[in-house]
Symmetry: C2
Subunit: 115 residues, 2 copies
DNA sequence: CTGGTTGTTCGATAACCATCGAAGTTTGAC
DNA sequence: GTCAAACTTCGATGGTTATCGAACAACCAG
């Protein structure tokens, strides 16, 4: 059986995405960095994003952020084995909010390694 | 003399605008409605925005929201007489975040009169 | 100068949010 | 079966935010 039984996050259909919610999800610098990483590197698993994007937080906090991004419709998750792979819902975002995610990804600052 | 002496809001230059701050400013549904109104109707004074955009809040709360939008760089204010006229900083926003504000304005839902 | 219009500032309050550590669940490897 | 790896969930905590009413300041019209 796939998936954590307890993972009951609802990812909205493209037509049900709410702009304020999407903007709020992207307004956090750490979440923005995560989204940008996934946008550039394609499907990634959690630890990969956290480590390579150098997000300064614990796994539980990152899990929380991922949930917010999924509930807004920005990211989607696919479970394979013990890992959860995350992808940007680019097609759906483009359909619902044309040009939005491209302009945000383009405008996001280049990742700075955090020491 | 122009301006409220006590109004010490700092509106950032285009190059100093921060994406997360802009997104956070636009993530609030009421602020988004206000921005959308100004984007469509051009320079407007406060009471005009509040009434015609039918924002369900007091003047003091609206003043607070306007401050956040100005501090993010989304709006600018011009004082004339007793009134404060507000404008979208479209040129600066386009220069700093190409395509962003257009996609947000285009995606924002049509204003629904609140009863 | 006296009101009335226009908007800001100041507390105060309640709701929300990011963060952590600890404990739990699922999976894969041995 | 046992153990580690990979996340998630829970409860707590501290910081931020939206909101209001009251008081204030600048301006305009008599």
């Amino acid at each position: 059986m796939l998936g954590y039984v307890t993972d009951d996050v609802v990812e909205p259909a493209a037509e049900d995405m709410q702009l304020p919610r999407v903007l709020a999800a992207l307004a956090d610098p750490n979440r923005l960095a995560a989204v940008r990483f996934v946008a550039h590197n394609g499907e990634s698993w959690c630890a990969q994003v956290m480590e390579q994007a150098m997000l300064p937080m614990t796994k539980s906090t990152f899990s929380h952020h991922l949930r917010i991004l999924r509930e807004a419709g920005v990211l989607t998750k696919r479970i394979q084995g013990a890992r959860g792979y995350t992808t940007l819902r680019k097609q759906d975002l483009d359909a619902r909010f044309p040009g939005l995610i491209d302009s945000i990804i383009a405008a996001a600052p280049v990742l700075q390694p955090r020491v």
